[in-house]
């Protein structure tokens, strides 16, 4: 057996990472994804209350701000129940598998121009692979519980996730074709004023309007190829289904199958499943922002002497550059999460056949057409 040592597979145009930034990115994301569940659940309850003209949690702390900590305290005290007829090992292991596979996705996410876990050359592709792995965890949970509702929920969830991976993959492929890279950091660099190749208005070179210096929204992928805006909508719908969010929350349809694959879970294991759901929301929101909405680049363009883009984004390598980068990326991701919640409390749940119709007969054909257009657009760009 010949072992070839892996070397950082970076093209020389972009940053060489210092080891400490790699070690720094992972704890930050762990804190971010577990901290987000606190913010996310509070937001979700308040937004749902606002949409349904209620007040939401108001009792614990000012405006109910401490509600989630009370909930967490309750979950911590709960007994960790394993049903007698369950497959004990699988049942206990499943929540960890689900969370690990979602969290592993953060490994290739750039947070700022300098912070990225791994700059591997197969970034997005790895992400697709590892995130699709959580279906194994869901099946383990559903089957291991030895409960018909759990099993039905797991089946629905897996069928849905596997189907929606196709439109999701197609839209991601559109972006990859435009950017000619699988590395999320490289895709990020292309969408701002620190790009290493010229950006033209709408990506069309023949127009001759060089927007490299404008930066801002004009260099985002949704404007480098306007069709990517449609791709983003498809991406968004597909990620809702991937994260088992309403209106695609059939796997936990309360009216039919109690709570789906997590019916039998209690205490901290249930909390871990909950955490994975919110971590998944955060992951796909990040991914959407990075692929389509300019990543950590500012939305404000330079207009003549008013250098808005220069003022609102520091150069990579400086503290200011990292701060502004993190700020813009988090803002975009949180905005996408707001829309996810808005959709959840607005649209009713789909039926199974409607779900499959939407995936196979609407989103997938549009995705294939968009892929073709993106290929042609790339030819216009060079």
């Amino acid at each position: 057996m010949i072992i070839v040592e892996t070397r950082p597979a970076l093209s020389l145009r972009i940053y060489i990472h210092l080891p400490f930034t790699i070690l720094l990115a992972l704890p930050i994301f762990l804190a971010l994804s577990s901290g987000f569940v606190v913010v996310g659940v509070y937001l979700e309850r308040k937004i749902s209350a606002f949409i349904q003209d209620r007040l939401g949690p108001m009792e614990v702390g000012k405006w109910g701000l401490l509600q989630l900590f009370a909930d967490l305290l309750k979950l911590l005290q709960k007994e960790d129940i394993v049903p007698a007829a369950a497959d004990r090992k699988l049942f206990l292991l499943a929540p960890s598998v689900i969370f690990a596979s979602v969290f592993a996705g953060f490994a290739v996410m750039p947070l700022t121009p300098d912070l990225q876990g791994s700059a591997t050359a197969v970034g997005v592709f790895y992400l697709m692979a590892i995130v699709s792995f959580d279906v194994v965890g869901i099946l383990m949970a559903g089957w291991g519980s030895n409960n018909k509702y759990s099993l039905l929920g797991a089946m629905r969830s897996v069928a849905q996730i596997v189907s929606y991976e196709i439109p999701l993959g197609l839209t991601i492929l559109c972006v990859v074709m435009i950017c000619q890279s699988l590395n999320l950091q490289e895709i990020s660099f292309q969408q701002g004023i620190y790009t290493y190749e010229p950006n033209y208005l709408f990506g069309i070179r023949a127009l001759g309007i060089d927007v490299t210096d404008w930066g801002g929204i004009f260099s985002w992928n949704i404007l480098r190829n306007p069709f990517l805006l449609i791709a983003y909508v498809i991406f968004f719908i597909a990620t809702l289904a991937e994260a088992n969010r309403a209106p695609f929350d059939l796997p936990e349809g309360e009216s039919e199958i109690v709570a789906g694959f997590n019916t039998e879970y209690s205490g901290m294991r249930f909390a871990l499943l909950f955490l994975s759901e919110y971590a998944m929301m955060l992951l796909v929101a990040f991914l959407g922002a990075i692929l389509f909405l300019g990543s950590w680049n500012t939305p404000l363009p330079n207009i003549g002497p008013v250098r808005l883009a220069d003022w609102t984004s520091g150069s990579p390598g400086t503290v200011w550059g990292n701060l502004t980068g993190a700020f813009w990326l988090l803002t975009k991701a949180l905005a996408a999460i707001m829309v996810q919640m808005w959709v959840r409390w607005t649209l009713p749940r789909l039926r199974v056949d409607q779900l499959m119709f939407l995936c196979w007969k609407v989103l997938t054909p549009i995705g294939i057409v968009l892929l073709l257009i993106s290929g042609v657009w790339r030819l216009l760009m060079i």
């Binding site: 057996m1 010949i2 072992i3 070839v4 040592e5 892996t6 070397r7 597979a9 497959d87 699988l90 591997t120 050359a121 197969v122 592709f125 790895y126 697709m128 692979a129 590892i130 699709s132 792995f133 279906v135 194994v136 099946l139 383990m140 089957w143 099993l151 089946m155 897996v158 596997v162 699988l182 056949d353």
Partner: protein
């Protein structure tokens, strides 16, 4: 020992353990899950050899898609203990013979093949990455690549034909 060698040996140990579990587990579901673990470890080996694309493909196709299909089928069939009866002595003998022949073949192949030594001076670290692989597929291996795509197309058409609703069928 270099750290990379320690990683290699630990990974190999886990791979072999999970591969043995595949064969010895009584419960078919555990068997499949162990097989998924084996594929995952194999992906780890690919990464050690800097075949990053192959590693991701291995996870997405085998550990992700095909094994989930396996799990689905086994869960639907709901195999029970009493089904063990179907494993007669004859099937066990046949399995041993087939497995033995496969092992002998592979041993012979590995004895016959001389692996070319790697010249560390001019080794390209980008071998095995997506770009390199794409260039190879679209130049040196164009014909096999296109033939494989035709095969996939045939499979796709077949799946559509099987899944197509015939006249008079219910809507769902």
């Amino acid at each position: 020992m270099k750290p990379i060698e320690i990683v290699f040996y630990v990974l190999t140990g886990i791979t072999l353990l999970s591969a043995i579990t595949v064969v010895t587990a009584r419960n078919p579901i555990h068997s499949v899950l162990a097989l998924i673990a084996t594929f995952f470890c194999l992906s780890g080996h690919y990464i050690l050899m800097n075949a990053q694309f192959l590693a991701a493909v291995n996870i997405i196709v085998y550990a992700g898609a095909i094994m989930v299909l396996f799990l689905f089928t086994i869960m639907f069939l709901n195999l029970r203990r009493e089904d063990e009866e179907s494993k007669t002595n004859l099937t066990k003998m046949a399995a041993v013979v087939v497995g033995g022949i496969l092992m002998v073949t592979m041993l012979l192949v590995f004895r016959a093949v001389q692996l070319p030594a790697v010249n560390e001076g001019n080794f390209d670290a980008r071998t095995g990455l997506v770009e390199q692989l794409g260039i190879m597929l679209y130049s040196d291996y164009l014909l096999p690549f296109e033939l494989a795509s035709v095969l996939l197309l045939v499979a796709m058409v077949g799946a559509v034909m099987l899944g197509k609703r015939e006249a008079g069928d219910r809507h769902f």
